[in-house]
């Protein structure tokens, strides 16, 4: 319960409940946000540790690491490798990025940014969070039940069916995702209601901060996509346990049906992970350039159009399943179209910096890193959008490189940017600038050394989800693993410094970033008091958080 230590000093501002019940029964958006963030850190330690194991194994040809690890886990090396790949992906998607961006920063900042005292449904907020730990436990169990769920996070049948995994492991993974999905649906309804109904007087949607826009769109995507996953998972559960044959050709079903249902959820899911990051980066770039966001409305509607188009591009994950050529042609067109609103965002961020007076504080360098690396991940996305070209890249390391550039170097960079940006606000402490800068530069070098060579491996033909590879791929894999060492060292450094700062850091002020920070959370004390905005701020005469000198 290190969270208690973090927030102990809140107590004398307000009358926060004491002890364990403060957290178990919490209806406070800040406490719940804090729990989501700690939960995300815990999952990241496991999920990141698993990815480090994968890189260690792939550092040289042959099977060396998983012989030992598999035996320790009472499993066979090759099966445990598949289990590791599966658990890494599921952890990072459902238990690291989503809880951090939506549950963590969303809960913490959205009510404050719109001048609301809390979320619309505080008790539902509590159950949203407390569904996540059981989901995590079920996921961890799925790795150890029977042979462990080694199906990949996409859970493609028949491998995820009784034919491929006859033991209970996949059932545990299904139940885990059901709980995480229920949590997301509850959280999404809460955010939608809060944002639509609880904005301060005068704050029309067209005046709402972009992170609020991003969270609203993300919540809508969650609300529409998660039930589809839930339906598909239930069908798979029935196939496995109750003799149905939705995905079994022997009973008149079709394994490809699963892929359509999964990716109808799965593609909006990747935007669910990146849209809040877009919102965060907009705020940080504006704050540290001391300029309002360039083309605010264009930014908001670019996110909305990415969200909408995100629902009609799903089958670009399935170019090799044998779809008719006209379907593939359609998915090429709509997928490439997404590059347009994404381009608008990239250029608008640069235009926000243009003419600004930029200070390169830690959150800003993470955001600039995000903009560049997301661009690199974006252009390889355009390459993959071409159904013909994708034949060469599909299921190779090129795809692995692409989605780690947009998620690991995109979403995770935005999470770090947000962490440094709001660290003062959440903890009341000052994060030492040198440590944040060192963390950024080491991570930046590490992840690029890690993921850039994977483009080369993929182009040369190395398939993904392989525990061992032909010796010809040894060189770039070795380089990639060096990158993992650098990244891991950087992360350990970050964890140690953060621990020290949280215990003994200097006290911060309400607004450490100066007149560029114009959203409402900077008008309250740091750390933010237990209750904020019990008197609603008034936007009818303009933004009360904007600085009069401007």
């Amino acid at each position: 319960m290190s969270t208690t230590a973090t927030h102990a000093h809140d107590d004398h501002h307000d009358h926060a409940p004491k002890g364990i019940w403060r957290w178990l029964n919490s209806t406070n958006h800040k406490d719940i946000g804090t729990m989501y963030l700690w939960f995300s850190v815990l999952s990241a330690l496991v999920g990141g540790g698993l990815s480090f194991l994968i890189r260690l194994e792939l550092g040289e040809p042959g099977i060396q690491v998983f012989n030992v690890v598999g035996e320790m886990m009472g499993s066979e090396a090759k099966q445990f490798y598949n289990v590791t790949v599966t658990a890494h992906a599921l952890l990072m998607v459902f238990f690291v990025v989503m809880p951090a961006l939506i549950g963590g920063f969303g809960n913490w900042m959205v009510p404050m940014m719109i001048g609301a005292p809390d979320m619309a449904f505080p008790r539902m907020n509590n159950i949203s969070f407390w569904l996540m730990p059981p989901a995590l436990i079920l996921l961890v169990l799925s790795a150890f039940m029977g042979k462990g769920a080694g199906t990949g996070w996409t859970l493609y049948p028949p491998l995820s069916g009784l034919a491929g995994q006859p033991d209970m492991s996949v059932d545990f993974a299904i139940l885990s995702l059901h709980l995480a999905g229920a949590s997301s649906i509850l959280g999404a309804t809460n955010f939608i209601t809060t944002i639509l109904n609880m904005r301060a007087p005068g704050m029309t949607m067209h005046k709402a901060p972009l992170f609020v826009w991003a969270t609203l769109i993300t919540a809508v995507l969650l609300l529409l996509a998660m039930p589809v996953l839930a339906g598909a998972l239930t069908m798979l559960l029935f196939d496995r346990n109750f003799g149905t044959a939705f995905f079994d050709p022997a009973g008149g079903g079709d394994p490809i049906l699963w892929q359509h249902l999964f990716w109808f959820f799965g593609h909006p899911e990747v935007y669910i992970m990146i849209l809040p990051a877009f919102g965060i980066v907009s705020h940080i770039v504006s704050t540290f350039s001391r300029k309002p966001v360039f083309g605010y409305l264009g930014m908001a509607y670019a996110m909305a159009s990415i969200g909408i188009v995100g629902f009609i591009v799903w089958a670009h994950h399935m170019y090799t399943v044998g779809m008719g050529v006209n379907y593939r042609a359609y998915f090429v067109a709509v997928t490439m179209a997404i590059a347009v609103p994404t381009g608008i965002k990239i250029f608008s961020w640069i235009a926000t910096m243009w003419g600004g007076s930029i200070s390169f504080k830690t959150p800003m360098v993470w955001s600039i890193g995000f903009i560049f690396l997301f661009t690199v991940g974006g252009v390889t996305g355009v390459v993959l959008a071409n159904a013909g070209m994708d034949i060469v890249m599909h299921d190779t390391y090129y795809v692995v490189a692409h989605f780690h550039y947009v998620l690991s170097l995109g979403a995770i960079f935005a999470i770090f940017a947000a962490f440094y940006y709001w660290f003062d606000k959440m903890t009341g402490k000052v994060y030492p600038e040198w440590a944040g800068q060192l963390h950024f530069w080491t991570t930046f070098v590490g992840v690029n050394v890690l993921f850039f060579p994977q483009h080369f491996l993929g182009l040369a033909g190395m398939p993904r989800r392989y525990i061992d590879y032909p010796d010809i791929f040894a060189e770039w894999n070795m380089v990639s693993t060096w990158g993992a060492y650098i990244t891991m060292a950087s992360t350990v450094f970050f964890l140690i410094v953060t621990l020290f700062v949280m215990i003994g850091g200097r006290k911060s002020v309400a607004n450490p970033w100066g007149d560029g920070a114009t959203t409402l959370e900077w008008t309250v004390d740091s750390p933010a008091p237990f209750h904020t905005f019990e008197d609603t701020p008034d936007f009818t005469g303009g933004n009360p958080a904007a600085h009069p000198a401007e």
């Binding site: 347009v340 640069i350 070209m389 010809i472």
Partner: protein
């Protein structure tokens, strides 16, 4: 009697020539080199176009990334707080916003034109000269020539069976490779018996999933004789990393000889047995 001896002589001859065709060390025109940066050497018209198209995309990608990088660096140099202490308040420029919406659209259209041409070209062919069926199973491939009653399994070689001196590669060799003719329009059909698999030869620009209960179709036309490698490209369980694909591309004449010998050796199929029995009786 003369017919029988002629048959036998021909049979022996084809066996010898055929076995030599795939026992000899074939060149590996597309094998990657250490530190390889780009795609494998193409060995089919489709793969040639894919390489060309990728190099075109690579230029566009590099230029876009470098432009974004240059703009960011320029902002960092020109608009840092020392160089520019007073920020401008400009947050709108309609012309600029139209430009960065329209220009990407134009770039995408420029990409889409060759992309669609390639997509429809590589889909399938009307009149194949040869059909081969690929069946994926945990964890090996089965090849069938449905028009010639030829069918065999292609099992992976273990590490201790690999002959490195003979130019064999760990994790890539099989006991019986698939023999295909060069300069022939080949239709390839795919299916699977248990879970999903994906068959690929990167040098041919071919990759398609093997799905139980479905038959998928694509085509290729091999331009360079030699030995080609691929690996299963859809997660299929514990030995997913260990079900390689090997194709020996030989001249149409050598292929014809191999095909005849395989058919003759395939006594167990009723068709062949009947034909053989008919020959004996004469």
């Amino acid at each position: 009697m003369t017919r029988i001896s002629a048959f036998c002589a021909g049979w022996v001859l084809t066996i010898v020539s055929a076995s030599s065709a795939w026992a000899q060390e074939l060149p590996t025109p597309s094998f990657p080199v250490p530190w390889q940066l780009n795609m494998q050497t193409p060995a089919s018209p489709v793969a040639e176009q894919l390489v060309e198209f990728h190099n075109f995309l690579l230029v566009i990608c590099t230029v876009i990334s470098l432009v974004v990088l240059a703009l960011l660096l320029w902002c960092a140099i020109r608009y840092n707080e020392k160089a520019n202490p007073v920020p401008s308040k400009n947050a709108h420029n309609t012309l600029l916003e139209i430009a960065w919406t329209a220009i990407p659209v134009i770039i995408l259209v420029v990409i889409a034109v060759p992309s669609y041409r390639l997509l429809f070209y590589m889909d399938r062919i009307e009149d194949p000269e040869l059909t081969v069926k690929v069946v994926g199973s945990q964890w090996y491939w089965t090849y069938e020539f449905p028009d010639h009653d030829i069918s065999f399994d292609s099992l992976p070689l273990q590490d201790n069976e690999i002959n490195v001196e003979a130019g064999q590669h760990r994790l890539l060799e099989v006991d019986t490779p698939l023999i295909l003719p060069t300069d022939t329009d080949i239709r390839i059909l795919f299916t699977a018996t248990d879970v999903l698999h994906a068959w690929t030869i990167p040098a041919f620009g071919v990759k398609l999933d093997s799905v139980p209960g479905r038959t998928n179709e694509t085509w290729t036309r091999i331009t360079i004789p030699g030995k080609y490698y691929g690996q299963c490209s859809e997660l299929c369980g514990i030995n997913h990393s260990f079900m390689p694909i090997v194709v020996h591309a030989v001249s149409p004449e050598e292929f014809e000889a191999w095909r005849a010998s395989e058919m003759a050796a395939n006594h167990n199929t009723p068709d062949d047995a009947n034909r053989f029995a008919a020959l004996i009786q004469e």
